[in-house]
């Protein structure tokens, strides 16, 4: 069964080719079939391989399938090969499974859009590129997938190309990720020259021998990889592009900017755990980046009015959690949270899509209201998703995955009390803005009538994802609540086991109880502020300080404003002033100089004979003086 591994990425690429070339000709119906079918097939194969991987895993818990040698120059040899182990299994499963539901959903969401086949072509290309990324056997192939997904996010954000704002958002996304990719490329060079190969497994196995822990090169290369990860996963310095990426169609936001692409950074760090362990400094850096991002994104999420931007900021903050988990060394907890997050965040986005569809494409939450009764299925699935996001204790999967991270933030090998406090506070803020969103959109009186009632193609994906958002968490229970570690045993083969928990069990209970209580409290506060009497909020924001704070948070804590002044304006000004390429002035000066000489000598050609005789005499005088002098 393993030999069919190469089919998994090939189907989406095939789908892309068919749709790109024959898209217009085969009409919407057929392109839908091709688009969804290719992802469905690839999901099917992934699941089959997954089952076989669980039942009788390949020797060494890893299977490699080499297709052909990609580049072979001097001692640099890279081939197109797929590496399947537990980690890539999880990612591949999530990408294809969640991807399939989103494709099914978007057949209806994009039904009346004239770029229908183009949309599915891009989506298939994205899934293909993401699979290359997660299953790449060497870092260059990973880089190929990395840039491929960056490209698809650019194409899909700018999908409605008629509006230049979408174009701007798309370019912003691609360029910011490209900044990260440049850093990552330098990291790749560094790795190549330390290990003479870019093959991931080889690097991980040879690393401990080549580098002593804390080695300068290890720290540098891991930090550079972190730079790449930060760019792609929209973490702190480079997180400005994700909120604007909401300009794309909602299924795109669901698939790319929630479930899969943005977690590519998590995959990279998890995959390269070997060298990260050798550089504790970078581990703490990852943790700090994660913690800071989750706080910044959380605060920003509180003040958003557009439903999709709230979800965007919540995605940034949840990935912050994953980075935090990886930073403290809780590898499998981070990946587990990735999986769970993929489910409920995709669910939330799809539901939000359904809401937007139903509200004449209105995205401002405060213009909606009272949809609970009008769209029951959407409401309940949205509620489950939000509960899971807010980590409602015991019942939602989100609780288990986030709680594990919060606990390891303290007890993990690299954890510290401050990280724990940041994580807890972050959880509280998450709960607040999530339920603020729920109350504002679904409760209160209905301001707009429903323009479009979602059909089965919307409901089934929502329900499926809701199921996982609820029950996905039970495969990994924390020590205090039944200690079921199905997921981490599965991940043992790929990721180092976390020897956390050297603190007593009582501390663990204390942190779980504390987070649960704080979550509930903030839900109540959200209920009180945004449902009971909105007045408090409105008159707070009317005060000068309140309004300033709201604008500050709304703009994502002013990063955009800062980057605009720091990078964009100088670059644009510098290139605009140099439009005529000042080096050219020198080459324009030369002919001018020649022309001046021309006019200078022109005086000698007066046409008068007597002037010419003077010329001759002048010549004689000069030669005589030369003879005298020399």
């Amino acid at each position: 069964m393993y030999d069919l591994l190469w089919l998994v990425p090939t189907f989406p690429f095939l789908g892309f080719l068919i749709l790109a070339i024959f898209g217009k000709k085969i009409g919407k119906k057929l392109s839908a079939v091709v688009g969804v079918g290719s992802i469905g097939l690839s999901a099917l194969i992934t699941i089959l391989i997954g089952i076989q991987f669980l039942t009788n895993p390949p020797e060494g818990h890893a299977f490699v399938q080499t297709l052909w040698t990609w580049i072979a120059a001097d001692d640099f040899k890279v081939n197109i090969a797929f590496h399947l182990d537990a980690l890539s299994m999880v990612f591949a499963f999530v990408v294809t499974f969640v991807g399939f539901w989103i494709h099914l959903y978007s057949t209806e969401y994009m039904a009346d859009d004239e770029g229908f086949s183009r949309f599915f072509a891009y989506m298939n290309l994205f899934v293909g590129a993401m699979l290359m990324l997660v299953m790449g056997d060497n870092l260059l192939l990973l880089y190929l997938g990395w840039e491929g997904v960056g490209l698809c996010s650019y194409l899909l954000i700018g999908f409605w190309y008629r509006d230049p704002a979408n174009g701007y958002a798309a370019r912003k996304a691609f360029i910011v990720t490209r900044v990260g990719d440049a850093a990552m490329a330098v990291g790749l060079f560094m790795l190549f020259y330390s290990f003479k190969s870019l093959n991931i497994q080889e690097i991980l196995s040879v690393a401990p021998h080549v580098w002593s822990p804390g080695n300068k090169l290890a720290v540098a290369s891991t930090l550079l990889l972190l730079g790449g990860a930060v760019g792609k996963s929209a973490q702190l310095p480079l997180q400005v592009w994700l909120p604007d990426a909401m300009a794309g169609p909602t299924p795109t936001s669901a698939l790319i900017h929630a479930a899969t692409m943005v977690t590519a950074g998590v995959y990279l760090i998890a995959r390269m755990n070997g060298i990260y362990l050798l550089a504790p400094l970078s581990m703490t850096a990852v943790a700090i980046v994660g913690a800071a991002t989750l706080l910044v994104a959380g605060f920003a999420g509180m003040a958003q009015t557009d439903i999709k931007r709230v979800l965007a900021y919540s995605t940034v903050s949840q990935i912050g959690y994953m980075f935090l988990a990886l930073g403290v060394g809780a590898w499998s907890a981070g990946v587990f949270h990735f999986m769970i997050h993929a489910f409920f965040k995709a669910l939330l986005f799809l539901a939000a899509g359904a809401i937007i569809l139903a509200q004449h494409h209105e995205q401002n939450m405060f213009k909606m209201g009272g949809l609970a009764k009008a769209l029951p299925v959407t409401f309940w699935t949205f509620l489950i998703g939000s509960a899971s996001l807010a980590a409602l204790p015991l019942i939602t999967a989100g609780f288990y995955s986030k709680d594990a991270i919060i606990w390891y933030a303290w007890s993990g090998p690299n954890g510290s009390i401050y990280l724990w406090m940041a994580a807890v506070f972050g959880a509280m803020v998450t709960a607040f803005y999530t339920f603020r969103m729920v109350f504002v959109t679904f409760f209160g009186e209905q301001k707009m009538e429903i323009s479009h009632y979602p059909t089965w193609r919307v409901h089934i994906p929502l329900i499926a994802l809701a199921f996982f958002a609820l029950f996905g968490g039970f495969i990994e229970l924390p020590g205090t609540l039944g200690h079921l570690t199905l997921f981490s045993d599965f991940m043992k083969s790929a990721l180092p086991v976390v020897e956390g928990g050297h603190h007593e069990v009582s501390l663990e209970i204390f942190s779980q109880v504390l987070t649960a209580v704080l979550a509930l409290v903030s839900i109540f506060v959200a209920y009180y502020l945004y449902l009971k009497n909105m007045q408090i909020v409105t008159n707070f924001t009317s005060t000068k300080f309140g309004h300033g704070l709201q604008q500050f948070l709304l703009s994502g804590l002013g990063f955009d404003w800062l980057y605009e002044r720091l990078f964009i304006r100088p670059y644009v000004w510098l290139s605009r002033t140099n439009k005529r390429d000042f080096i050219d002035f020198f080459y324009v000066f030369l002919p001018w100089l020649a022309r001046q000489f021309h006019y200078l000598f022109k005086y000698t050609q007066t046409g008068k004979v007597r002037r010419y005789v003077v010329g001759i005499v002048f010549g004689v005088l000069v030669s005589i003086t030369i003879v005298v002098i020399l």
């Binding site: 000598f601 001759i616 005589i624 030369i626």
Partner: protein, 482 residues
């Protein structure tokens, strides 16, 4: 005058006899065609006498002339050049001159005689006499179209300036003679190389003689006459001045300074170097924005003789690339180009005026493709672009310059040839730019006869042939050098 000398001088004698025969013919019946044919036949006879002169040994013919391989090579070159010039002159005179045209050929032949005399002279007297014969016949030739004043003015201007420069030349010669005691070039040069540096009067004399050379070659301080004379003179005569007259003087210059190593004597080296540098710069800069094609060619010939002087200064240090070989190759390629160019100017003219202005050549590509191909080939050869003999010539000069490490001169030569490219390209640009309607009326439509057509084709093919496969000419030049 032994029989052997007689055989040696046969080419010059035949050349001298031809004008006499023509005078007799004119006396019998004044016919333009017969005169032209007679002069061509005379020139061919002189040409065929050259092999005879070559294989009789003994070069010195009386102490005035020396007919060695070098002189005979230049004889052949000048005879051919004059033959080629006669064809367009014939057509030009038919078109533009109503008076009696036969005397033109007399003057032309005497001028060639003077120039040939220069190439063979070995003595001050023969040098001066040949120079004067050449100059006087040129005065009349320049002013031949006597019903128009610009020709006469050019003639007068040329006369006065030539007279002044030959006065300087003579005065220089007298100073040199006063020190050396003999007028033979050999003795003069031996005297100079032994005690040149401290005998002030002899060096001053040579410096004054340089004025004579400089004027005839139209190099910088003495160049001012050439644009006006080229413009005023009829096109074939300008061709003659630019080629044969300068060729003769150059041959003499090289013979005079053959054994004398220029680089050693500081004053002469500085003078010639300055002249070369300024000729290149002034020639190119003045030609840059010139809209009159004849004046443009005049300035470009100033620049080209600046390049040749670089080869002259390089001298004969390097046995592989002798300066004189480079200069001779350059002269041959220059002859072909300049005569061809002036011939085309001659063809593009009607009764009132010659096609001198740049605008007369607008859109020539689409009106007369073959004529414009010829002119472009000539322009590219002047610019020194490969596939033309101009490139090989420039390469030859560069090689001789580099072999004697004249780095500054070489760099200046490079810069100038880049400058030169500009105005040669402007001519080709003019030719392939589109003609707008109303301007079409004023254009002169060239009437290219069969003979001049063939001649042009021969010249262009020779140009390209020397550019692609120059071994033949290089071989004969290397054989002819002393």
């Amino acid at each position: 005058m032994t029989g052997h000398d007689f055989l040696k001088l046969m080419p010059i004698i035949i050349l001298a006899a031809t004008p006499l025969i023509i005078m007799l013919a004119i006396a019998i019946k004044r016919n333009h065609l017969i005169t032209a044919v007679l002069s061509v036949v005379g020139l061919f006879a002189a040409l065929f006498a050259i092999p005879g002169a070559k294989y009789t040994n003994g070069d010195q013919v009386s102490n005035l002339f020396i007919i060695d391989q070098y002189a005979l090579f230049y004889f052949a070159l000048m005879f051919l050049a004059t033959i080629v010039i006669i064809v367009p002159s014939f057509q030009y005179l038919e078109l533009r001159f109503k008076g009696n045209r036969e005397e033109y050929y007399l003057l032309l032949l005497t001028a060639t005689f003077g120039s040939v005399g220069l190439a063979a002279s070995n003595h001050f007297i023969s040098f001066f006499l040949s120079l004067e014969i050449l100059s006087v016949s040129l005065y009349a030739l320049v002013a031949y179209l006597r019903h128009q004043n610009d020709g006469i003015e050019a003639g007068l201007k040329y006369l006065i300036l030539a007279a002044v420069s030959s006065a300087f030349l003579l005065f220089g010669m007298s100073l040199v003679y006063s020190q050396v005691g003999s007028m033979q070039f050999k003795d003069v040069i031996n005297f100079l190389s032994q005690n040149g540096n401290y005998n002030f009067i002899s060096i001053a004399g040579v410096a004054l003689m340089v004025v004579g050379f400089g004027f005839k070659l139209a190099v910088v301080p003495f160049h001012m006459w050439s644009p006006d004379v080229y413009q005023g003179a009829p096109a074939p005569v300008s061709a003659f001045i630019a080629s044969v007259s300068k060729g003769g003087i150059l041959a003499l210059l090289f013979r005079f300074f053959a054994e004398f190593n220029i680089v050693q004597s500081r004053p002469l080296f500085t003078i010639f170097a300055l002249i070369a540098v300024f000729s290149m710069f002034v020639g190119n800069f003045l030609a840059l924005l010139q809209s009159n094609v004849k004046r443009l060619l005049a300035y470009s010939s100033i620049a080209h003789f600046g390049y040749i002087l670089v080869a002259f200064i390089a001298g004969n240090a390097q046995q592989q690339f002798k300066g004189v070989e480079a200069a001779t190759f350059y002269i041959v390629s220059y002859f072909i180009t300049i005569i061809g160019a002036f011939m085309i100017i001659g063809l593009i003219s009607n009764e009132e005026r010659e096609g001198m202005e740049m605008s007369d050549y607008r859109g020539l590509y689409w009106r007369h493709p073959w004529l414009s191909v010829a002119l472009s080939a000539m322009m590219f050869s002047l610019a020194g672009i490969p596939l033309t003999s101009g490139f090989i010539a420039k390469y030859y000069i560069l090689a001789s310059g580099i072999s004697t490490k004249l780095w500054t001169l070489i760099i200046i030569l490079i810069i100038n040839s880049a400058l030169g490219v500009y105005y040669y390209l402007r001519v080709t640009v003019e030719m392939f730019s589109n003609v707008d309607a109303e301007q079409k009326a004023t254009l002169i439509s060239p009437n290219v006869g069969i003979l001049s057509g063939i001649l042009l084709a021969v010249l262009t093919i020779a140009l390209v042939w020397l550019g692609v496969y120059p071994t033949g000419l290089i071989g004969s030049i290397q054989a002819a050098m002393f």
